[in-house]
């Protein structure tokens, strides 16, 4: 059902291509029938001496002409049919990506990336195959079957046909049985292979760890077992696929035997000629394809249906953030935060409760607290990664939801806690938000993010490829690249989610100086190190989702509360420096 819904629209828009392809298939089928018939006629004419050498040449020329016409038509239907089905692939892939862009972080957290990737590749492929090979096998298979039967029964000899065809239903049944079992084993073999791949990946990525724990030989033994399992699964596939051959061979052999036996009888009783018997044998071979197509088509449609169901499910995945706002201008980057309670989907306890915060344009606000106190949650809510159910978030006099998502997002330059770098050059990664930034602007941003010395050490400078299949950057380096990305963006509000955690003391000071210079921007700094927010205009201390203290550094210190205790704790370590 899902497959039909996905395909029907598509077939309707590409009706012309499909109709033309089917007509070409039909023409090929007809010509294909004419060939053996014509060959049989030539043989009979020769046997009966009705033809001379020049007539023979002419007849043979007709044969070649028909073959040439078929050649052209075969080319035509392939381009039309597969061209159309590949277009379906393009459309589905585009739609898949577009859907991804509308989903929220909560969705991505719940899904395994491998699973989503499989949907975008294997499932779309399967639907595509249903629209291409599926149509081919069902239409052409049926067409060929009907034409061959018509030729055998009507043109040559009905009794001969009925006897010779007995083995064919068995062949079709055999095909179907083998095909579905191949499918099953094939899936298992793929699973074993991905198993082997995952484990190899882990072994190589963690090689140092394995070496240091003398686990190399154990790992090799484990690899052996998995490789063995893959080989076994693969053997099952080969074994099943090998069964196609005897199915065809035995069915065709018995059909040939039946043809010769019945053909002898019909020949002796004068119903057919030897030429017709030869033609009949040629038709017999052509019946293999429809038998195969029947099983193949069922398989393709089954797989396509399962894939279409998964795709449809993905396409209808709930989008928690709707882009229903209409405002496209933000009057001022002032933020008014009034959160009554926020609970993550699927969580039981609220991550944030009772948080009131007023942020004037250009202010620097520090959010501090221990791990799990809800610091990052505030930033996620401002970004509208999750909908706030109880409370209001107001940006420049209007609730966040009133703005178009694009407008809202253009207000922020965001540095996530675990920064994501794309498999591209360093320069492209920094210029993510400002694709047309010049090299000198990118360099300046990297310099400001204290990445200058690191940049000098990279083999190709800004053109160095990073991420997968490129240079691997350390956690601290990734954070600084992400910071440069945010600094380059012109957005008026900077959101830093624990950006200074994995950098050393010297670098931290350098970065704080940089942020100091960004005075005209509003800056929200989440940190578990107090040194990073000491100079903020406001500091909010969170503890288990509650704002337990709020104020400037000095005021908070005099209050002798939570903040003062944390400060004490972290100061001890600095105080150990008798400066």
């Amino acid at each position: 059902m899902a497959l039909r819904r996905l395909l029907l629209d598509f077939l309707a828009t590409h009706r012309r291509a499909y109709l033309l392809a089917i007509m070409a298939l039909l023409a090929v089928g007809l010509l294909n029938m004419a060939l053996p018939w014509w060959a049989g006629r030539i043989i009979d004419a020769l046997n009966e001496g009705r033809i001379d050498m020049s007539g023979l040449w002419r007849s043979a020329a007709v044969l070649v002409a028909v073959a040439l016409a078929m050649y052209g038509l075969r080319y035509l239907w392939r381009i039309l049919l597969f061209g159309a089905s590949y277009q379906l692939g393009v459309a589905l892939r585009d739609r898949f990506y577009e859907k991804l862009t509308r989903l929220d972080p909560g969705f991505f957290q719940q899904r395994r990336s491998g699973d989503l990737l499989a949907r975008s590749t294997q499932d779309i492929d399967a639907v595509e195959v249903a629209a291409g090979e599926g149509v081919l096998s069902s239409v052409d298979g049926a067409l060929t079957l009907l034409l061959v039967l018509a030729m055998m029964i009507i043109v040559i000899d009905a009794p001969l046909a009925l006897i010779a065809l007995i083995p064919f239903p068995f062949m079709a049944w055999g095909f179907y049985r083998v095909a579905s079992r191949v499918q099953g084993y094939f899936g298992q073999s793929l699973a074993r292979f991905s198993d082997l791949n995952d484990r190899t990946q882990e072994a190589i990525a963690g090689l140092r760890l394995l070496r240091q724990h003398s686990l190399i030989e154990a790992e090799i033994a484990d690899f052996d077992r998995r490789a063995e399992a893959h080989a076994r699964a693969n053997y099952q596939v080969q074994r099943m696929e090998a069964r196609y051959d005897p199915v065809v061979f035995l069915a065709l052999g018995s059909a040939t035997l039946a043809t010769i036996a019945a053909g002898s009888w019909r020949y002796l009783s004068g119903a057919i000629t030897l030429g017709e018997l030869t033609s009949f044998t040629l038709y017999l071979v052509q019946l293999i394809w429809p038998m195969f197509a029947l099983g193949w088509c069922l398989n393709i449609l089954q797989r396509g249906e399962a894939a279409a169901r998964r795709l449809t499910e993905f396409f209808h995945e709930r989008e928690t953030i709707d882009d229903a706002g209409e405002r496209s201008k933000v009057p001022s980057p002032a933020l008014h935060i009034a959160i009554d309670a926020f609970t993550y989907p699927l969580a039981t306890t609220p991550a944030l409760t009772d948080l009131q915060l007023e942020i004037k344009p250009g202010q620097t606000v520090g959010i501090v607290g221990a791990t799990g106190s809800g610091k990052s949650t505030l930033i996620r809510l401002l970004l509208r990664q999750y909908p706030l159910t109880h409370g209001t978030l107001i940006l420049g006099d209007h609730p966040l939801g009133d703005y178009q998502l694009g407008t809202l997002r253009s207000m922020y330059a965001y540095v996530p806690q675990d920064p994501y770098l794309f498999a591209a050059t360093l320069g492209e990664n920094v210029a993510l938000g400002v694709p047309d930034a010049s090299d000198s602007e990118i360099r300046a941003a990297l310099e400001a993010a204290a990445f200058g010395p690191d940049l000098a050490r990279l083999p190709d400078g800004l053109d160095t490829r990073i991420g997968e299949r490129g240079v691997t950057l350390s956690g601290g380096q990734r954070q600084r690249v992400a910071l440069a990305r945010a600094l380059l963006s012109p957005a008026p509000i900077l959101l830093l989610d624990d950006t200074l955690s994995a950098v050393d003391q010297t670098t931290e000071q350098q970065l704080l100086t940089t942020l100091e210079a960004e005075r005209e921007r509003t800056c929200l700094i989440v940190s578990h190190r107090l040194s990073a927010v000491r100079h903020a205009d406001q500091i909010v201390v969170l503890d288990q989702g509650r704002a337990v203290e709020q104020g400037r550094h000095d005021t908070l210190l005099t209050r002798n509360g939570h903040y003062a205790r944390l400060w004490q704790e972290q100061q001890i370590r600095i105080a150990e420096t008798p400066s």
């Binding site: 990525a205 090799i220 498999a423």
Partner: protein, 579 residues
């Protein structure tokens, strides 16, 4: 591209079990002979019995039994030889895979550091899989079809040499078609694969980095980019369809018909001259129908040759790389002390030394703090102390013996190390702690408490049995560091190497950890790289490094008093922290 070494690499695994190979070849020959016998018998029947209307039952029954017997044997033989060859092929690839994986696991660390993990994994799994396809397809399909082709030609020659020569023109013509298809389709298929890999990479980054794309308002740009890629792939695939529609099945079918026409003319010429037997034509037509299929199969498999050639070349160059040398001195470590004498280290292929003339003595139980700017050689020194990299010039003695003469297992029993970004295996938390050793619950509990991991474990529903990694729980960097520390403590090492091992841990936890480490002082030789003063405040000695050299050493308190010293300057740079 194909040279002798490559052939040896690919063929040797196949020749492991010669008896089985010979048996499979005998099966193949027998099956082909039986197969080709079918039309021969039919021809004999038509010419000697049907046309002369000689219908005595005895010879006919013998003929029938021969037919049924030969075809049955052919079916069985073809099936069995496929199984045999599949087994041979899969065993061969399994052997090759084991060899490659073992080699990879024993490559020197610098090779792994310089190669992206994905690439190394591709060598072990994908490249060997390309060879698997070659073996399976070559043995199962190409060999079988080639044999059939030869069998048919031999049978034709025995029956009628002139007609056989006409039919044999199919071979050179097909060779040209195959060659042309090969030339055109290789690059086209490569392009499709390249674009496909690009699509996967884009989807992958969309899944991993969508929240970044959304935050930076780049979803539209990336969506368009993906669409362009889809369209490019569509055109590339259409191109491959065009090539195969022009040169593959349609072309060979066309050639088949032309040869049929030629056969009819050749037969007709004989028949008009008198003396041709209709049965000969019948047999030829039947055989001809079976010739084009093997040719198509062989043509389609040619890409596999190419791919396997490329994969094999890559594997050869991997196997040519020398393995890491491992010492064989298995005497246990008596005293866990180090002596470094004029130690110099240069990274493989680098132009400058990373460590330069380092002389250092680390007695058993000493706590050494290692500090210096990024790139000063701290982590490299730690790698050398761990025996992961070989010394370039000078000496590195552990327990008075050169570290490269010690067997890895000897080093591993006394040493534990915690890197900045610890590797977590995708298994349970317990297995991640144990890493192949045995420990009772009390020891595990103690290590967990010391490493401050208790809080995390209490939060997990399945405690120690919680699965981690790709398919399980994802830990934050800080949590990973605690886990790695617990893993190291559990081994009760005599040498502990820490590389900024607590950089991402929050301050409260960090100070608790430092107390736990201080308790090991005197019992365990510790070398700790730190970028925060507090981590090494308790150290016996601090070693300051700069550009690969030791520039200052001494007790931490003394060094801090020396306001001209490098250590003092390192912690007293101007910045918001110390204003």
């Amino acid at each position: 591209m194909i040279n002798r070494r490559l052939l040896a690499l690919m063929l040797r695994p196949l020749l492991q079990d010669r008896r089985r190979l010979v048996l499979a070849l005998i099966l193949l020959l027998t099956a082909t002979a039986m197969d080709v016998l079918g039309p021969w018998l039919t021809k004999h029947y038509i010419d000697s019995y049907l046309v002369p209307r000689d219908l005595r039952p005895e010879p006919l029954i013998i003929l029938l039994m021969l037919y049924v017997g030969s075809q049955g044997l052919a079916a069985l033989g073809r099936y069995l030889q496929t199984l045999y060859f599949a087994r041979i092929a899969l065993d061969a690839v399994h052997a090759l895979r084991r060899r490659v994986f073992r080699h990879v696991m024993h490559l020197p660390q610098h090779v792994h550091d310089a190669t992206p993990t994905g690439e190394m994994v591709a060598r072990v799994t994908n490249d060997t899989d390309d060879l698997r396809e070659l073996y399976v397809e070559f043995l199962a399909t190409v060999l079988q079809n080639l044999m059939l082709l030869i069998g048919i030609l031999v049978a034709m020659a025995l029956m009628d040499l002139k007609l056989m020569l006409i039919a044999a023109t199919l071979i050179p013509v097909a060779a040209v078609v195959i060659w042309a298809y090969q030339r055109a389709s290789g690059p086209a298929a490569m392009e499709v694969r390249r674009l496909r890999a690009g699509q996967n990479a884009r989807i992958n980054e969309a899944i991993g980095g969508m929240s970044v794309l959304q935050a930076f308002n780049q979803t539209e740009r990336f969506r368009t980019r993906y669409h362009d890629l889809n369209v490019a792939q569509y055109h590339a695939r259409l191109h491959t369809i065009r090539i195969s529609a022009l040169l593959l099945r349609s072309a060979l079918d066309l050639v088949g018909v032309i040869i049929l026409a030629a056969l009819l003319i050749g037969y007709g010429a004989d028949s008009l001259a008198g003396g041709a037997e209709i049965g000969v034509l019948y047999a030829f037509v039947t055989w001809l129908g079976r010739v084009s299929e093997p040719l198509i199969e062989i043509t389609q498999r040619f890409n596999i040759f190419q791919q396997a050639g490329v994969a094999g070349t890559r594997l050869l160059s991997l196997l040519d790389r020398p393995q890491a040398a491992a010492g064989d001195d298995t005497r246990a470590i008596r005293s866990a002390d180090y002596r470094l004498e004029a130690l110099t280290f240069r990274h493989h292929g680098a132009e400058a030394n990373t460590l330069d003339d380092v002389t250092l003595e680390i007695p058993e139980g000493r706590f050494i703090g290692l500090v210096g700017h990024t790139g000063s050689g701290k982590s490299t020194l730690l790698d050398l102390l761990g025996g992961l990299q070989p010394v370039t010039i000078g000496y590195l003695l552990l327990d008075g013996r050169r570290i490269d003469t010690l067997a890895p297992s000897v080093i591993n029993t006394v040493m534990a190390s915690v890197p900045q970004e610890p590797f977590i295996r995708s298994t349970t938390l317990r297995d991640n702690l144990l890493m192949g050793i045995e420990a009772d619950d009390a020891a595990i509990a103690r290590a967990i408490d010391e490493a401050q991991l208790r809080e995390l474990i209490d939060r997990l529903p399945d405690g120690l049995e919680t699965p981690l990694g790709e398919r399980g729980l994802t830990l934050s960097t800080g949590e990973r560091q605690l886990l790695a520390l617990a893993r190291a403590l559990l081994r009760q090492p005599r040498i502990l190497l820490l590389d900024e091992a607590t950089a991402s841990v929050d301050s409260l936890t960090e100070s608790r950890l430092n107390r736990a480490l201080a308790a090991l002082k005197g019992r365990v030789t510790m070398v700790v790289v730190a970028h925060r003063l507090s981590t090494i405040a308790e150290a016996d000695e601090v070693v300051v490094m700069q550009a690969g050299r030791v520039i200052e050493r001494g007790a931490p308190d003394r060094l801090l008093d020396n306001s001209d010293g490098a250590y003092y300057r390192l912690w007293h740079q101007p910045g918001p922290l110390h204003d």
